[in-house]
Point group: C2
Chain length 209, copies 2
DNA sequence: TTCTCCATACTACTGGGTATGATGTCATCC
DNA sequence: GGATGACATCATACCCAGTAGTATGGAGAA
């Protein structure tokens, strides 16, 4: 036991391959329906490989979820922190969110699928990483909510008459829904779809005068 | 074997209780994580009761999904077929969709949670009821897409420059996302939330001039 | 030799499904 | 109207396949 042995978050190059395979199978079949032998098959190996790098199935899932969440949030945060027109920023954030969803399918889809479960687990589990995940999601939703409020302000609308939290959730729903219907072989025009959805959510918080 | 015995779709009064209990537990824990003993516990009974009314766990799920889908679609369809201003109709459809989601939680949340699975199953399963479900969803999405196109036409916009399918999907995502975050004990103002989301999606397809 | 990396073989347990029987109810016949 | 059979309605006990996790050892590198 020196470098890896059941740790978490990328135990080396081979560990990353295990993680990728897990994400792919989880995304396709769902966490509960996936056996460790399925993942091993995907790798052309056996369970021994997996348990050498991860100490449990749940730990493997947590790593997939954390990795996916970081990819998504890092991409969006970078844009959220830039300055300039709030509306343009919101549009760019939405576009980036969709783009990552369609690019990083295995991780993002796994995160999407296991979201209800992890909401249920909440405090039911022992692993504190579930809590960390919850914070990441909250930050993500918060970023969108902040920009929405800036857009509303710019339009001279009073904030306390609008439920910005529900607006942010509706927005994220529209964007996350891509995980359900997107198919790489069918939906080729990634940028076009991202643009359409970005326009949709920006307009959603921009009522006609 | 006379009246019930593993049929489907409501085998009498007691059968409905089994279905309700299944929907409740499925919604809470997810299909795969739910054992038939869990459902039996919810009923204060044993597996014998369940298997007297349903022939398999999958059949039970299918009944929950079909029942939920019908509730949702029947409610929306009634509005979709009414005449009058397309924009007002779209707003009413969205509001009704959200209202049902928040009212019929057990069935709607189960349907939401098992949607990725049933997309994956597609043709992999034997039961043709999966196909029927797919048709119901398609009709549902189609109804929204039709109204969207009517709204666009009314605004004098050319249809082939807009991806109405993606718009409809984004819209449904915003509405369905309620299944993820809604909590009855916390989110009391059902009508207010429904109004906010309905405005959001209507504005989403109504860009400023 | 020692340690990493992984395959093999095994254990223990969960959970879907079944076989069987107990209990109650209703109709029918004497 | 009471006995009797038939059937619906479940509970109990059991089977067995799938699967998370473990114990062990072997091959190769350092």
């Amino acid at each position: 036991m020196s470098e890896s042995s059941g740790r978490s978050i990328r135990s080396g190059e081979r560990g990353r391959e295990v993680l990728d395979a897990a994400a792919a199978v989880f995304a396709r079949k769902g966490y509960a329906q996936t056996s460790l032998d399925d993942i091993a098959d995907e790798l052309g190996a056996t369970k021994g490989l997996i348990y050498h790098h991860y100490r449990s199935k749940e730990s493997l899932l947590l790593d997939v979820l954390t990795t996916g969440a970081k990819t998504l949030i890092d991409g969006v945060r970078q844009i959220a922190r830039s300055d300039g027109d709030p509306r343009a920023r919101l549009r760019a954030m939405a576009r980036e969110h969709v783009r990552i969803t369609m690019t990083d399918v295995a991780y993002q889809r796994t995160a999407f699928r296991s979201l209800p479960m992890h909401v249920y687990l909440a405090r039911r589990s022992v692993d504190e990483r579930w809590g960390k995940l919850h914070e990441l999601r909250a930050e993500h939703e918060g970023m969108f909510r902040d920009v929405i409020e800036q857009v509303l302000k710019e339009d001279g609308r009073t904030l306390d008459s609008v439920d910005t939290r529900t607006l942010a959730r509706g927005m994220l729903g529209a964007l996350n829904w891509v995980n359900v219907w997107y198919r790489e072989e069918r939906d080729q025009d990634v940028d076009g779809i991202a643009d359409t959805l970005a326009e949709f959510v920006v307009n959603g918080v921009s009522p006609r005068p």
